[in-house]
Amino acid sequence: DTAVSQTPKYLVTQMGNDKSIKCEQNLGHDTMYWYKQDSKKFLKIMFSYNNKELIINETVPNRFSPKSPDKAHLNLHINSLELGDSAVYFCASSNGHDSNQPQHFGDGTRLSIL
């Protein structure tokens, strides 16, 4: 009965590869997010989708491409992985009809670039 689930939990790959992270929420929310958390624990928004429409794109390199096939899913594809992409990536969701609602987070995908 996990609310926001991400796969995989760990991802170790070589520089230059392309990889995807998947996220699904069963909370009935219509807004989903991707965050990046660096080694100092700083959390920064990357993207947000509301009803499958991109509403936030925070100057993320275009090697990162989010895709929302439906309201319950938001995937993140990363091309040509670089060392600096090593981080923990969190998916979150909220009820976007009222922006003043808490966002609910998954447990993260730990991406390590060799």
């Binding site: 624990k41 920064k44 976007g96 966002q103 987070f105 998954g106 447990d107």
Partner: protein, 112 residues
């Protein structure tokens, strides 16, 4: 125990004592504030929120205080327990804006 500032301070507190975690937010237009708790290997977990038309809100063992005049937010944890050991983040949000801006976090360690 008490922490101050936006940097990543650590707060060490004796089990059973009260904890106070402070946060200075940046945007005077922010009208919604949240505290999250992040345990090791997990995602941020919602603790409590407060809207700008309030200055205090209480939950179970937690109280959030908001001072809009000095743009300051605090989280008080009563009778701190070992399970409260985690990193605590404050986050702010403006009306009609989906973007949540997080503070740097405070690492709380509870001593037995």
């Amino acid at each position: 125990g008490e922490s101050v500032g936006l940097h990543l301070p650590t707060l060490s507190v004796q089990e059973g004592d009260n904890s106070i975690i402070n946060c200075a937010y940046s945007n005077s237009a922010s009208d919604y504030f949240i505290w999250y708790k992040q345990e090791s290997g997990k995602g941020p977990q919602f603790i409590i929120d407060i809207r700008s038309n309030m200055d205090k809100r209480q939950g179970q063992r937690v109280t959030v205080l908001l001072n809009k005049t000095v743009k300051h937010l605090s989280l008080q944890i009563a009778a701190t327990q070992p399970g409260d050991s985690a990193v605590y983040f404050c986050a702010e949000n403006m009306a009609n804006d989906y973007k949540l801006s997080f503070g740097a976090g405070t690492t709380v360690t509870v001593r037995a």
